[in-house]
């Protein structure tokens, strides 16, 4: 446990050691605000809720989460520090989970910094705080799933740009799994059961049901197991490719 926490602390601090943290946080907050007010018509809707805010999270995550996940392993590989890390007395799983927790914690910081919008809506009306808390948790869970995907992709390459583009592409497929954009690629040849399975993988549908205030155990399990599956995949990829 001590090595895992040491890795988490180091990785978390690493975000703040470079301009990455400040750039990411500024862009995330600016975009989240802009989308909420200008495209989401936060005021015009005249409703005391944060639907307009949360509905854009999947799209923000689509390109912002790969940006914080891309360095997790690609950078270790490029600088050679992966050899140092994996010859310390830590298991690959500890290293993978430690890095994941650091990145997930960083996303939590970004989400906490959006609380002014919660304060605003509370000041303007009487929102359902339960729904908002559920939405925040759902958003954080979904971010974890994006991160786990991004980390697995990062482990396959030493090039951070490739890691970013690939992770964004994979996340795009997951986000839109239930929509015609993705399904039409399978519709002509795959049996209905497969289509059903693919559409059930959709981040978007799961997240939308959470933001309506319904925390369905199935949705939570879905995101948690997506995180779990991709963490296991990352361990396997790191072990298999660590010396390449």
């Amino acid at each position: 446990m001590a090595p895992l926490l040491a890795i988490t602390r180091r990785e978390f601090a690493a975000y703040f050691a470079t301009p990455l943290a400040s750039v990411f946080l500024c862009i995330f907050l600016a975009l989240a605000g802009a989308l909420t007010f200008f495209i989401g018509n936060f005021f015009e809707r005249g409703r005391a809720d944060l639907q307009a805010f949360f509905s854009f999270h999947p799209w923000l995550y689509l390109f912002l989460i790969p940006a914080i996940a891309m360095r997790l392993w690609a950078e270790e590989r490029r600088s050679g520090s992966i050899e140092l890390l994996l010859t310390l007395p830590v298991s690959t799983a500890e290293a993978v989970i430690g890095k994941f927790l650091a990145a997930w914690g960083f996303v939590a910081v970004a989400l906490v910094l959006t609380c002014p919008i919660w304060i605003t809506v509370t000041y303007l009306g009487t929102p359902d705080h339960g729904v908002i808390i559920a939405s925040y948790l759902g958003s954080w869970l979904m971010a974890g799933a994006f991160l786990a995907v991004g980390q697995a992709v990062s482990a396959t390459t030493k090039n951070q740009v490739i890691a970013f583009v690939l992770a964004a592409a994979v996340c795009f497929v997951f986000t839109l799994a239930g929509t015609p954009i993705v399904l039409s690629a399978f519709a002509s040849w795959a049996p209905p059961a497969v289509l059903e399975a693919i559409s059930s993988l959709s981040f978007l549908a799961r997240f939308q049901s959470i933001t309506r205030g319904v925390i369905d155990l199935g949705d939570v399990i879905y995101f948690a197991s997506t995180i779990g599956v991709f963490l296991v995949a990352t361990v396997a990829i790191v072990d298999y490719k660590k010396a390449d």
Partner: protein, 314 residues
């Protein structure tokens, strides 16, 4: 003599290429093993397998009795490893980096302060402690890597080119550090600097094309130089050919050749077998009109032996 590092038939294949082929040896406490070989000989690959970074294709390796594949954590706890090129986290300061290593290794509290203080002092990092590692010179980066490797006072040290990029003073300090801690540890260092082997190593292994070609003390290796035990002298350059011809005919002399050109040529006279020829050569040469001087016995040179051993396979 207990073996703290043991390799048995260790092999690593990359596709069709045997980077390391059936390497076996042991290193006991108190030994400093110099690992020599041309570039691409398999030195780093062997060290990476010992450190648990590469998985062997065949064979076994253990650190303090713990198999590096079956009990990797136990083996790594007892191992200090300086990877090739001394990688570190470039954004961290040296201080933060050493604190991270200590935390991962479970060194806490006053023990951490004491161990980091010791490592910093021995690797002379005090001046750069609060600078990010990527702003440090090559020599300092190497020393950060060394400090990291010795931080937990491991019984086994594996150092891949520990003095690469250091200036002569720093090399001297690092060798001093290795000698000071050697008695309690089993140490493997790889190097291209052959004088380093003679300075710090109690044993040397020469490897090429993944195979161990020699395993002996540096003295025993040097003794393989054909010039080992030969007599050398200098004569004026214009009489060198004449001197060689005359010296070669002396009883007990197998061979004489010019070793160095210049205003005075250095001539090396090899004996047949172990016959003592020093006095004969000296008397003969002194009596001859060559202004012979600088009589000495040659010990041989490790670089000659290294080239001789690795020439045919490299």
């Amino acid at each position: 003599m207990t073996a703290m590092i043991a390799l048995t038939g260790l092999t690593k294949q990359f596709g069709q290429i045997h980077a390391v082929a059936d390497v076996s040896f042991t290193v006991a406490k108190g030994e400093v093993l110099g690992f020599l070989g041309p570039n691409g000989a398999g030195k780093s690959t062997t060290m990476k397998m010992l450190a648990g970074f590469l998985t062997p294709s065949a064979g076994k390796a253990s650190v303090c009795g713990f198999d590096v594949v079956d009990q990797p954590i136990a083996a790594k706890q007892r191992l200090g490893y300086l990877p090739e090129g001394a990688p570190a986290y470039p954004d961290m300061t040296a201080r933060a980096f050493l604190n991270f290593i200590a935390a991962v290794r479970g060194i806490t509290g006053s023990e951490r302060t004491r161990r980091i203080g010791w490592a910093i002092e021995r690797t002379q990092l005090t001046a750069v402690l609060d600078q990010p590692i990527d702003t440090l010179s090559k020599g300092f980066k190497r020393r950060v890597g060394l400090a990291q490797a010795v931080l937990h006072d491991p019984p086994v040290l594996i150092l891949d080119e520990p003095t690469d990029g250091l200036d002569p003073n720093q090399k001297h300090e690092v060798r001093g550090l290795i000698q000071d801690i050697a008695a309690e540890k089993a140490i493997i260092i790889s190097t291209h600097i052959l004088e380093e082997v003679e300075a710090v190593c109690s044993r040397a292994i020469i490897i090429a094309r993944g195979r161990v070609l020699a395993d002996a003390t540096p003295d025993a290796l040097v003794a393989q130089d054909p010039d080992h035990g030969a007599v050398s002298l200098t004569v004026a350059a214009d009489v060198a050919d004449q001197a060689i011809e005359a010296l070669a005919t002396l009883p007990g002399v197998a061979h004489a050749h010019i070793n160095r050109q210049g205003p005075r040529s250095k001539i090396v006279v090899r004996a047949e077998g172990d016959r003592p020829i020093a006095d004969t050569v000296r008397q003969f040469a002194s009596a001859a009109p060559w202004q012979a001087a600088d009589f000495a016995t040659e010990y041989g040179r490790l670089d000659q032996v290294f080239r001789h051993i690795t020439r045919d396979v490299a």
